[in-house]
Symmetry: C5
Subunit: 152 residues, 5 copies
Amino acid sequence: MKIGIADTTFSRIDLGKIAIDELRKYGVKYERYTVPGIKDLPIAVKKLIEERNCDTVISLGWVGKTEKDLISYLALSIGIIIVEILTNKHVIDVTIHEDEGRDERELSRIAEDRVRKHVRNAIDLIKNPKRLEREAGMGKRQGYEDVGPILR
Amino acid sequence: MKIGIADTTFSRIDLGKIAIDELRKYGVKYERYTVPGIKDLPIAVKKLIEERNCDTVISLGWVGKTEKDLISYLALSIGIIIVEILTNKHVIDVTIHEDEGRDERELSRIAEDRVRKHVRNAIDLIKNPKRLEREAGMGKRQGYEDVGPILR
Amino acid sequence: MKIGIADTTFSRIDLGKIAIDELRKYGVKYERYTVPGIKDLPIAVKKLIEERNCDTVISLGWVGKTEKDLISYLALSIGIIIVEILTNKHVIDVTIHEDEGRDERELSRIAEDRVRKHVRNAIDLIKNPKRLEREAGMGKRQGYEDVGPILR
Amino acid sequence: MKIGIADTTFSRIDLGKIAIDELRKYGVKYERYTVPGIKDLPIAVKKLIEERNCDTVISLGWVGKTEKDLISYLALSIGIIIVEILTNKHVIDVTIHEDEGRDERELSRIAEDRVRKHVRNAIDLIKNPKRLEREAGMGKRQGYEDVGPILR
Amino acid sequence: MKIGIADTTFSRIDLGKIAIDELRKYGVKYERYTVPGIKDLPIAVKKLIEERNCDTVISLGWVGKTEKDLISYLALSIGIIIVEILTNKHVIDVTIHEDEGRDERELSRIAEDRVRKHVRNAIDLIKNPKRLEREAGMGKRQGYEDVGPILR
């Protein structure tokens, strides 16, 4: 198994490095592809799948605070989904939004937690889908603590 | 007939379990595929159709409350429709929006009602399309009581 | 010529019945396909064209009042256009928005007028395109009275 | 060279007639295709290219004032771009927004100016691309006077 | 290596000229293609790749201030991403938004900085991807000074 890591120079945190650190814990091979910004991620993801033979890709996007950034986030999201549909591969579309944290310290904590958890998700989608099935409906969160299921 | 169930670990209610419980009443076979969040659903749906031979899929998404979540909901919706168009299969795109209920109890009731009714819709789209035709324009609702037709 | 009618059980008015009543005046054959809601319409339209040999389709959508409904309306609109592009067939994408009328009586009047006029549009797109060309720029409206051209 | 003209009966100004009048000045052949509204334009444009052998198409859309109209405008815009991408032909996507002018007189002036200038753009994209290159960055406007370049 | 430059006559700054000036410093060959506005850019980009054999393209868009302009920006962004996905080539989608600067002087400075930096990004994506990888997560900005990484 080989996992692609697509990340950006726009990001204020080296999200790719966190992902790679996490991947190493599991002994998974990886390919990294860094692009300028989030609108460049869909084609980078496609190239990681088609030209570098990745089985799945973790796309790491950093989204600014403006309305224009949210529009770019929509284009990114649609683009990633089209790449998945055309390649029949999963892509974990991780995004950190600059306005998520009250300060840089909190934003950093959110980013690290989200990336590490989604690395595990990407691996399990390929190797251990039963773990995800066991956690269906459990209110899992990435970047925050799990909110847990609603008691019924 | 085999129906796919695509659901998420993000959801705070085990929507897949409700769908499976309902499917069993009708003796319908199913395949389940759990992914992290709503943006992962379109490719999961495509895989259920193409790799696991499902005749139709019920996609079960749980949507957060923020503007970013609504944008992801749009990307999900467009993605599901593209998968339907490319595979020529129906996908029932069920979503629960976290802000629909006044409290967790109401949200839970909405979710259960919506999933069960849409399981019946998915089955009837394949096996009994005449039932849907008879109910055309009848103001059917999933998650709420039917509002009924406008009297003319 | 055969025209497809795609409609929903979500609708509070039997739009398909109105369309069929209008089609009968012209002696046009039709196929009807009823689905639960608007996000199910694009694939229904595609199936009417590809599996039931319709020359054109009238898609009859009923759109709720919320922001989420408007997002679904966008996904529907893009989906219908993609189906047209892939099949090279016209689809008349008729939608009734629940907040268009001040009351149910007005909404009902709008819906009936819009559906009947668009049935004529669908027929003329195939059989009598010159009628549409003669009315180019004439401020034609469906659901309301024509506003007419701007006098220049 | 043959240019397609796609326009609507929804429009309150006969934009197609203006386009044809302008095309005649240049002795260019044309095909006209009138549809009900803006969501019908992408497939009309594709048919003008594929079934009537147009080298390029001028799409003439009239957009209402409501939020729903803006959503339809987005679907139209994406649809036209997809048609261009699939056919490898330019389409000049001209739209008049009903709220652009303070009154009908101004709206009429905007529409006429925009259509005539874009007819020239469509011709030059095929026959005289150097003219467009010379005007790159010159702040050209259609519907209004050119704003001109920023002095640096 | 040959790089495409797609720009517009709508722009108030000759962004293509800045890009070409920067490309010359690196001795890179280029092809220029000027179109009227941003919605014409995706097809121009595709033609630069497919008909003029460009290895990558820098798309230079100038976006107005209105809500309609933001919608066109979304259509542009999705269109560029679809072109990248279909051609398997990178396209650097550079946009200048008219409301970014407090005055024309600042807007001009933003535009020049953004275009020059993105020319280097386009070249390095092909020739020197390791430079981008070294700058991953460094908070690089185009149009503004780099904000730099968050200290962790």
